[in-house]
Assembly symmetry: C2
Homo-oligomer: 402 residues x 2
């Protein structure tokens, strides 16, 4: 692998200088996923750069290899990619035209633009999954109250309406109990130019996430399947491994994720969000990047998802995805109503629980925004859930418990 | 804690901006200890800066808050300290006059200049330890062949000669089996203006390190006592916990380290290197910073020594120092004779052992220089020692096995 370090960013020297000839990974996006990937890159001794919009973004605060620019700009993306051996992403928002242009220019994009396309369009994703034989909740495109009413007549209320693109963390997802509620969403979508799909509201036993990594060489690694607990459409709590999941269904979820990753030629991480139902597994969403459901791996697995993503996009041998303890529990920290006191609250959490691992993202605190997470690892699941929940709730100033 | 972020470095905003009002720690020195402390700072959401001599130094490559300057310059140190709430150190080489000037200017230096003074002068350290009632190997100042001969007559050959200041990693330490060998060292010391002490060569069962943290509030935390295995005066292997150490002696070592930290008013980490002998424990060296004998804590303890040092210097509640597995083994990676192929060798180690945690420091490879380390955590100590040794040996290109 050659090193093409430019003027900006980490001072990684070329081969022959006496410094290791390490490759450079560039991550588009300056959020907390890039911030935690930056931490993992330090240990691997590789070069790491971030394309951020603003020097105050979560990853830009800590990454020596930060370049400022707009991910929607061909020129900014090309300048960024020129200093990198591999370009990867901490979000799904880079337009397909820009991705395709980078690939035409010979840049290595991982995952590739074809796989990323699925994560940018929920309709395309569901059509692809269905075509590949993967069970998903029933869905259809909807553009009128009549279409929604017909879908509800077939599948019952509530109906889940989702924006085809642009949504995340509960944005762009509406659970509608009545035709009136659906009409309001339809009006909102019309005002904002959003296309919608309707999905059956699934009665699940638990929500699961199957996180796998796949390298261009074809190596795969599957993390233990976890339970995710959502609140208001945002991931609230993750339990690793998922309690009460029969071994057969666990293996099915892992094999499904590995098969999707292989079929799509994913290079990097693939998170598959699933509903565990009485009738089997249904796939809800795909993400091809480090994922909130995998934050527990920093302390709870031999290889963190962030290190694993770097290994995979660099086509390095993958790390062991085994649990480092018996159970790990992660709870997200959401912003409360006082933006300035997060550090003061951290002191109390540290004093109350010396074993809780708090990760703060350096983000501007706004009510309900993800600003950090807490992970605890140990033997007693009920105790761990209590500890993680108390720490995160205190940091969130009670919002998480409302 | 107020935030005094200046122009350079991490973009941490003041209170009221909506971003957490996190304190800023500045670390003087750009080596691997600062690099790994930078990693820990990311998770805590605090500001972190490094004063490095050169943008290519290990920590400067990765730390967004890097400032370039000379730690021997009053002006550079003052400019660096002005942007930090607390200043700490990744080495012992900042001259006492500069430290005292910073303290007079009202800067918070942790550990303080009085404690740091001990780590800069082996004679002062030994005199202080002896005065505090701590057993050390017998020693005396020596400036002539006659003085060395008299010391050897009392304590036997070999005699250990040590430079009073400036030595580390085996530099400045000579084990002399004969008067002729001692005369050569005496001549070398004369040429380089080094003062020497002579120490009795101790017959030990094993070498130990007791790592503790102490906060300004007086809280202490003691890590499990480890065995350190030296090669050519450089730390080669660390076993956590130290095998075969009776509980009474383990507790004695921890209490000794905590007592020294309290008596010296250390704020931060204190590593006490010890000889475990048939007659009891003898203190060999003190270090007041993250220490090579504590690198295993990144994966092997609930709280890494780097996070713990940051907590301690910020007077935050200390983290749990418990083992995260049954055993952890760390082996240093030393530079081999080919400077350019470290990354290529990493690929093979990753393929051979997916659970080995390799940390590379981004340093220029020179034969015998510390350029990384490998840690493995698990249940079978003999197996772990084999895995860590094989991985490090391969990365070191055989040098570590010579």
């Amino acid at each position: 692998v050659t090193n093409q370090a430019g003027d900006a960013g980490a001072a990684i020297a070329p081969a022959g200088s006496g410094r290791p000839a390490a490759p450079v990974v560039g991550m588009v996006g300056g959020g907390q996923l890039a911030r935690m990937t930056c931490q993992a890159a330090v240990g691997l001794g590789i070069g790491f750069r971030v394309l951020a919009a603003d020097a105050g973004e979560s990853a830009a605060q800590v990454c020596a290899g930060t370049q400022l620019g707009d991910y929607r700009s061909d020129a900014d993306l090309a300048a960024f990619a020129a200093g990198c051996d591999v370009v990867t992403f901490d979000h799904e928002h880079v337009p397909g035209a820009q991705l395709a242009a980078l690939e035409r220019a010979g840049m290595t994009i991982r995952p590739g633009s074809r796989a990323l396309r699925l994560t940018q369009d929920k309709r395309v994703m569901r059509e692809w999954l269905t075509g590949f034989g993967v069970a998903c909740p029933p869905f259809t495109e909807v553009a009128s109250a009549g279409q929604i009413a017909r879908f509800a007549a077939a599948h019952g209320w509530p109906v889940v309406l989702k924006a085809v693109s642009g949504g995340y963390d509960g944005r762009g997802v509406w659970v509608c109990g009545t035709a009136d509620a659906a009409a309001d969403v339809l009006a909102h979508a019309g005002e904002h130019g959003l296309e919608l799909i309707a999905e059956r509201h699934v009665a699940f036993r638990q929500e699961l996430a199957a996180l796998v990594a796949r390298s261009p060489a074809g190596q795969g690694a599957a993390y233990p399947v976890v339970r995710t607990v959502q609140r208001d459409g945002i991931c609230h709590e993750v339990l690793a491994p998922a309690p009460g999941l029969p071994p057969g269904r666990r293996a099915e979820a892992q094999q499904l994720a590995l098969a999707i990753a292989a079929e799509l030629g994913v290079a990097g991480l693939l998170a598959v969000e699933l509903f565990d139902t009485a009738d089997g597994l249904l796939v809800n969403e795909l993400a091809m990047r480090p994922h909130n459901s995998g934050h527990w791996t920093i302390e709870g697995s031999v290889t963190s998802q962030f290190e694993q993503h770097l290994r995979a996009v660099l086509n390095l041998p993958l790390g062991a995805p085994d649990l480092a303890g018996r159970h790990a529990v992660m709870v997200n920290v959401l912003g409360g109503d006082d933006p300035s006191d997060l550090h003061d609250r951290l002191i109390h959490v540290m004093a109350a629980d010396p074993g809780a691992k708090v990760h703060l993202y350096g983000k501007v605190v706004r009510p309900g925004r993800k600003v950090g997470h807490v992970t605890v690892v140990g033997d007693d699941l009920a105790q761990l859930r209590g500890r993680a929940s108390r720490a995160a709730s205190y940091l969130s100033r009670g919002l998480a418990e409302e």
